[in-house]
């Protein structure tokens, strides 16, 4: 009796499950050969198993909670006719697909995948090629975009789109994606509490990562390499930037990180390597710079004015052409216990801290700020001489701009 009831119960559950969430197989030779048709037929919470092959479809609108799983990486080819996948329902999952040939338009932002005003979406392991916009999240919330590979071939800024764009989004996780050859790798506008982790953004036309009016976000462990300019963070509050690598953003107007009108941020454990300008700072206040490495940059840090109450502590400044450029004589920022490879002081009491303060602003960098053409005298003997005399008795550079306790050895603990 007991066993019978259990069996009935199991059957009941099975019946319930199969009726609630069935799987639809889509393949080019099957009865169901169109993804769009499969979506129409499927009930909410069903799974569409899409087998290998090429599907010439665009404007696929997912208007019920579905899971689209690609098997052996099927290709959805939009033939450059417009947008490809639009998600218009909560709890949609896309996984293992390959999407290519998005239409280019000067009036509509066509994307490979767009989420409109929905929650709990998951976009995973999608390959995207030949794009206008990659993933476009519009007023979407609480979803994740992970492990996607987005490869564009942007030539000009005006007719290319962004890899991953978030517009008025909240609580989205963007992780382990690879974005290259787009206009901006990842672009955030009016998006709060976004976590951007372990992405690689390379060879993009404009920025690797771009923030506008977005607050309380964090990006950690990302790598930004060879972009037009690394990362631009503008008009945003409470941004955490940790453990990222900014490399080879090299060009006449290039930089690793641009901060414009940023307040209360934390920048720690990042590596800035071989950028024309490591960090360019403008109108940014109360920012803590901790344990960052600046190596082989043209300028490690360029302060352009209206920056107050920033703290630079325990950073390594290694072989930069200029450690710091400053364009005013007023200084309200603190430099404490950093390691400067250009430091020539001594440490008689052997406590690991130099006995003479280090002045990171050279006279030459001051002159270059005034008359940019003078840069042609870089590394000339005359410049070294006047730099030396300025170091001995500062006249032009702010005299309180100094590291009172420069470290003798570089900071290794960068946790």
């Amino acid at each position: 009796m007991h066993a019978l009831r259990l069996t009935a119960c199991i059957f009941g559950m099975l019946f319930f499950w199969t009726s609630r969430a069935s799987t639809w197989v889509v393949c080019p030779d099957c009865e169901l050969s169109s993804i769009r048709e499969a979506i129409q037929r499927a009930a909410p919470h069903d799974t569409l198993l899409i087998k290998a092959g090429t599907y010439l479809e665009y404007d696929i609108r997912i208007d019920k909670p579905l899971t689209l799983l690609g098997q052996d990486r099927p290709v959805i080819d939009g033939q450059k006719k417009g947008e490809i996948v639009t998600i218009l329902a909560d709890s949609v999952t896309l996984e293992g697909l390959s999407i290519r040939h998005v239409g280019v338009s000067y009036t509509t932002d066509y994307a490979a995948i767009r989420v409109v005003k929905r929650k709990h979406f998951r976009i995973r392991d999608i390959d995207m090629e030949d794009l206008f916009f990659g993933i476009y999240l519009e007023k979407a919330q609480q979803g994740e975009v992970t492990g996607n590979r987005i490869r564009g071939q942007a030539r000009e800024e005006y007719n290319s789109g962004n890899g991953i764009q978030l517009w008025y989004c909240k609580d989205v996780q963007v992780g382990e994606n690879e974005v290259s050859g787009m206009r901006d790798g990842i672009y955030l506008e009016f998006s709060d509490r976004i976590r951007i982790q372990n992405n690689r953004s390379m060879n993009n036309l404009r920025y690797g990562l771009h923030f506008m009016f977005s607050n309380d976000d964090s990006y950690t462990g990302n790598r930004f390499e060879s972009n037009g300019a690394g990362v631009a963070v503008m008009f945003s509050k409470n941004i955490k930037m940790q453990g990222n690598t900014f490399r080879k953003n090299w060009g006449t107007a290039s930089f690793g990180l641009l901060l414009k009108e940023i307040n209360d941020a934390e920048i720690s454990g990042n590596t800035f390597e071989e950028n024309t300008v490591g960090i360019s700072i403008e109108g940014s206040n109360r920012i803590e710079y901790l344990r960052n490495d600046f190596a082989g940059n043209g300028w490690a840090i360029k302060v352009r004015g209206a920056c107050y109450a920033n703290t630079f502590r325990a950073n390594n400044f290694l072989n930069n052409s200029f450690d710091l450029a400053y364009n005013s004589k007023v200084n309200d920022n603190r430099f404490e216990q950093n390691y400067w490879s250009n430091y020539t002081g001594y440490d008689l009491d052997r406590d690991g801290v130099g006995d003479v303060p280090y002045r990171p602003v050279k006279l030459f960098s001051y002159i270059v700020n005034r008359t940019p053409e003078t840069i042609v005298l870089l590394r000339s003997l005359f410049m070294e001489l006047i730099d030396f005399s300025e170091k001995v008795s500062p006249v032009f550079t702010p005299d309180n701009l100094q590291d009172e306790r420069p470290l003798m050895k570089r900071v290794h603990d960068r946790g």
Binding site: G251, T252, G298, R370, E373, S380
Partner: protein, 260 residues
Amino acid sequence: MLKILKYSFYDLMRSRWSYVYFLFYLALGFVLLFLNNDLSKAVITLMNIIVVLVPLIGTIFGIMYYYNSREFTELLLALPVRRSSIFLGQYFGVAGSLSLSLLLGLGIPFAAYGLFRSGAVWDFGLLLVTGAFLTLIFTALSFNIALANENRIKGFGYAVLLWLLLAVIYDGLFLLSLILLEEYPLDNFSLAATLLNPVDLSRTLILLKLDISALMGYTGAVFKEFFGTHMGLLVSLGALVLWTCLPIWRLAVRCRKQDF
């Protein structure tokens, strides 16, 4: 002329100073590579030294050699040898041995550290070529000064002044004029001013090869456009050749008229 060249050259090769010079560069190369182990970084450090030291040593050595071999020169003048071959022979002897010390002294350590397997070969080659040019130029200039001044103290004074002028004061005036004229477009002016001074020219050539041009903003772009092309490289090498030939030509003309 070749015989005199050979004589001067061998004389110098056996002299202590060539060895000191050679050993200095050898030690410098090894120490630099030992300290930072990175070829391209070492090339930058080396550039600072080459651009400043090579002209100085060329100047001092040239003028010292001329004054020291004065008696021998007078002896030669009494013989039926063409004057220009006497002086040019001596000049090439000095410049040749100095250049050889430079090339070998720096070449050996860099080759030992695997230069040929790294990408810095061409940068390093350019460095050596400009170094050799600077030696030729400044030795020729110092010979000119020595020829014009019987008085050794005066000659030395002028020679050092010349070095100071080209290596330091020129840049100071350059900087001053850039700051004073900052309201005008200065790119072509700075380009011309760079071409006119061999020290600045060498420095700029090497810096641009090391891809520091991006640092230089708009001016750098203009410079890169000029020096980066084959045309620019030819023009700047042409300027260096001109800087070498002019003093040598003047030396040849002057020694014919000089009354000893």
